[in-house]
């Protein structure tokens, strides 16, 4: 037995020595600054920790452009923040969209995780009360009125702001005006009938393959999102007053029938091969006449080609006002966070006009706050997109049980578009399946 004990002792010793080899690096306690002295006078519950208390703030972000935005955050933003809050150590956890959901769910399951998390447009309904309510802190900050109203819709739940919009990608209709003129149209289509006429006239098929498409909505992913936008434009809410889905409304049917008629106009036969894999913007290559989407699928905003591209909100049946769907990533503070005050401080620091402008310029997106529309946003295309977003924007928000609704819509809309079912069956299926999902989730009785 003594041999075994000797063996155990040696193993333990090796383990302990190995651990001692990597001592934890702690930032030296910083001297109190004027700012800290001020913050110490704030109410205890809301004030960031005093300089004596070292706080480690974890921020989970989607790393869209590795080695660019992350470098900027770590080398410029954090040091600037630490000048004001030297006791707060900011640690970033980078994820991508493929691992975002799993990561967040892990955090909430454990009740422990990043103090600030990156969420997508439709997430507020999913996480709602599990995110810290921030109305009081944001009112004190006083800069929320600078934000585009539609972007605030995506971060608001139960009357409380739950985070800060971080980047914005509005979706609008872009058309090649030179092609429209060639085809005999006066301007960009705005109504269902006009759009279908453009889709028909603008589509070219050669050798049983598409050469040009009169309209493109960027495939399956956008179908269901555009569908919700068109319903919105027709004035139909997604839910009835009792919380049940509204897909049995006449507007829901009109929107879906329009989309199917437009699809049939660009794909008149089952046997036609679609467009080749995209090599750059299809608007630039002339492969499509009109498209609905964000600016990433369009030519660069300083491209002279924009002289021949129009920008408009969307389509209606000729009665309502078309809406621009506003998607944005946003940053929220989970309710489990033990560092709420520091997280709010960092969020507000990140959310300054300068930081928002700098980040969105690197990413090529739109700053959610209007006073950040300078520099690269001083461009006629960006300004016009900004105007549309500000005046006709509707946040892609309060979509309950989004992931399941998305699957239901994609499946049922596809089946209708493929001729496997008629429009009434499709809508009936959408409504009944979604209602069951909402019921299972406890959102309706």
């Amino acid at each position: 037995m003594s041999k075994k004990l000797y063996f155990l002792m040696i193993t333990l010793l090796v383990a302990l020595l190995a651990a001692c080899n990597t001592p934890a690096e702690q930032p030296a306690p910083a001297a109190p600054t004027e700012t800290e002295t001020q913050t110490e006078t704030q109410p205890e519950a809301e004030a960031p920790a005093s300089s004596a208390e070292q706080v480690n703030l974890r921020v989970m972000l989607v790393d869209y452009i590795p080695d660019v935005t992350d470098v900027w955050l770590e080398q410029e933003v954090v040091p600037a923040f630490q000048e004001e809050y030297p006791n707060v150590n900011v640690e970033f956890v980078y994820v991508n969209w493929g691992t975002l959901d799993e990561t967040i769910q892990g955090y909430f399951a454990a009740g422990n995780g990043a103090d600030i998390i990156n969420l997508g447009s439709e997430y507020v309904a999913e996480y709602g009360d599990r995110l810290a309510p921030l109305n009081a802190q944001m009112a004190e900050w006083g800069e929320l009125d600078q934000f585009v109203p539609a972007t605030l819709d995506t971060v608001t739940w139960d009357g409380e702001v739950r985070g800060l919009p971080w980047l914005t990608a509005p979706r609008a209709v872009m058309c090649r005006t030179d092609t429209l003129t060639e085809l005999g149209f006066d301007g960009a289509p705005t109504t269902f009938d006009e759009m279908i006429a453009v889709a028909e006239a603008g589509t070219i098929i050669e050798n049983n393959a598409l050469v040009r498409q009169g309209f493109m909505a960027d495939g399956l992913l956008n179908n269901w999102q555009e569908y919700l936008n068109i319903m919105n434009s027709l004035g139909a809410p997604l839910y009835k007053e009792d919380g049940r889905p509204n897909f049995d409304s006449p507007e829901a049917k009109a929107a879906l029938e329009f989309m199917n008629a437009r699809r049939a106009a660009i794909m008149p036969s089952d046997t036609i091969a679609g467009l080749p894999e995209a090599s750059g913007s299809r608007l630039a290559t002339g492969e499509v006449v009109c498209r609905w989407g964000n600016l990433w699928g369009a030519p660069a905003t300083d491209d002279p080609l924009w002289e021949n591209i129009s920008l408009s909100a969307g389509f209606t049946d000729g009665t309502g006002e078309a809406t621009v769907q506003v998607f944005n990533d946003w940053l929220a503070i989970p309710a489990y966070s033990q560092n709420q005050a520091e997280a709010v401080a960092f969020l507000q620091f990140l959310g300054s006009a300068e930081n928002m402008n700098a980040y969105n310029e690197q990413f090529g997106s739109f700053p959610p706050r209007t006073d950040a529309w300078f520099g690269y946003v001083d461009n006629p295309i960006m300004q016009e997109m900004g105007r549309l977003m500000n005046e006709q924007g509707v946040g892609f928000a309060d979509v309950r049980e989004t992931a399941q609704l998305r699957d239901i819509l994609v499946a049922e809309i596809d089946a209708y578009f493929s001729g496997l079912q008629d429009v009434d069956t499709a809508l009936e299926n959408i409504n009944s399946q979604y209602e069951a999902v909402l019921r299972d989730a406890g959102r309706i009785d």
Partner: protein, 384 residues
């Protein structure tokens, strides 16, 4: 300062704690094993050997209990609950299982897996065997050829390779359809047209069975026999192009049949040459030798490949997220593993996902059991 304020210190303490836990738990486990041996009257040497054996095996044993058995039992429990992360767990009995039986997406994923099992696996077996037969020939550079033909197995599921396939399979200007178009200008076009007609009809039949509506089959028939302008609509996303999504995956499966090829190669090398020589003396031609000697002698390899191939069809995942979006138009690439992942991590329904994983396990066990029963009729083992 709290321990959690320093990630490095926190991680270090966790590492030390883990090592201590393994040592202590291993010591307890080994002591229990030793105690059992002592109770059974084992010698002192055997007791010592047992102690050391269990002690050194304890990291794996503990890992098995903590990371395999524990989660498995937890998932079994969760499958009877409505567990959604950070919400109270409520016992719902068999509800998740009964919901699954009425879930269109689950039924779709089963039909998709059925297609791959009935169409994809036999074609993959044929491709694997064909390659093995070729590479079993004694030619120069045999080893290099074997390595090259095996390489797709390593690459098949990688995103970059799947993207390459997406480009190659583009119906409009992909290299594969360029070849088809070239053939369409020759008298061989009938082969192309027959292939297109049969593929669309087979896929349409499966969809019709699934949705219990044969309109889609009528549409294929009313389109008539394809003309010389037609090409396969691989990975298409409009109209009836979705019928080509599963055949596209079958093509990739055939290309990556190297794992089956290796098994077949090993089996082929075990077929006694004397059997072929005797058959040749009796006047048997190459086909008869293949049919009556090779196939029966490599039947255990075919059996193994068949089981593995069938199980793999339930686990197809990467093509559903890389080749198409959201499982493809009309959920044509919605496979069981993909839906399991969506239900668990996208819909946040841990209990439902757990139930699905147990149903899949039962399906795999049943398939294997049936195959083992059937194998008595066609698998020949030399030792028998």
């Amino acid at each position: 300062m709290q321990l959690t304020d320093s990630p490095k210190l926190f991680t270090t303490m966790w590492a030390i704690g883990t090592i201590l836990f393994i040592l202590v738990a291993g010591y307890i486990l080994a002591s229990v094993a030793k105690f059992v041996i002592r109770q059974q009257g084992g010698s002192r040497t055997l007791q010592e050997k047992t102690f050391l054996g269990y002690f050194f095996a304890s990291p794996w044993i503990l890992g098995f209990f903590i990371f395999v058995l524990g989660p498995s039992l937890m998932s079994l429990y969760w499958s009877f609950t409505n567990y959604r992360i950070s919400e109270p767990i409520v016992w719902v009995g068999l509800k998740n299982y009964s919901d699954l039986m009425q879930d269109n997406r689950f039924i779709t994923s089963m039909f998709n897996s059925l297609y791959m099992t009935v169409i994809g696996v036999p074609l993959q077996l044929a491709a694997g065997l064909g390659m093995a037969m070729l590479l079993n020939q004694k030619i120069r550079g045999q080893t290099a050829f074997r390595a090259i033909f095996y390489m797709p197995v390593l690459l098949a599921s990688s995103t970059a390779v799947l993207f390459t396939w997406r480009l190659m399979l583009n119906p409009n200007n992909g290299v594969i359809n360029t070849i088809f178009r070239w053939f369409n200008e020759t008298p061989l076009y009938y082969l192309n047209a027959s292939f297109i007609f049969l593929t669309e009809l087979t896929s349409a039949l499966l969809v019709a069975l699934q949705i219990r509506n044969f309109t889609i089959v009528e549409r294929i028939l009313s389109n008539g026999f394809p003309g010389p302008e037609r090409v396969p609509l691989w990975l298409g996303s409009e109209g009836l192009a979705f019928l080509w999504n599963k055949p596209s995956v079958v093509v990739i499966m055939m290309w990556s049949a190297g794992a089956m090829m290796i098994i077949y190669l090993a089996a082929l090398s075990g077929v006694p040459q004397s059997l072929y020589e005797a058959a040749e003396v009796d006047g048997a031609g190459p086909w008869k030798r293949f049919r009556h000697i090779t196939l029966p002698m490599i039947a255990p390899a075919t059996f193994y490949n068949l089981i593995i191939g069938m199980i793999a069809t339930l686990q197809i995942f990467e093509p559903a997220v890389t080749l198409v979006r959201d499982g493809g138009q009309n959920q044509s690439l919605y496979f069981a593993a993909y839906y399991l992942w969506r239900a668990t991590f996208r819909f946040n329904q841990i209990g439902y996902g757990a139930a699905m994983s147990w149903v899949l396990l039962i399906i795999v066990l049943m398939m294997t059991f049936v195959q083992f029963k059937l194998s008595n009729r066609w698998v020949y083992y030399e030792s028998e």
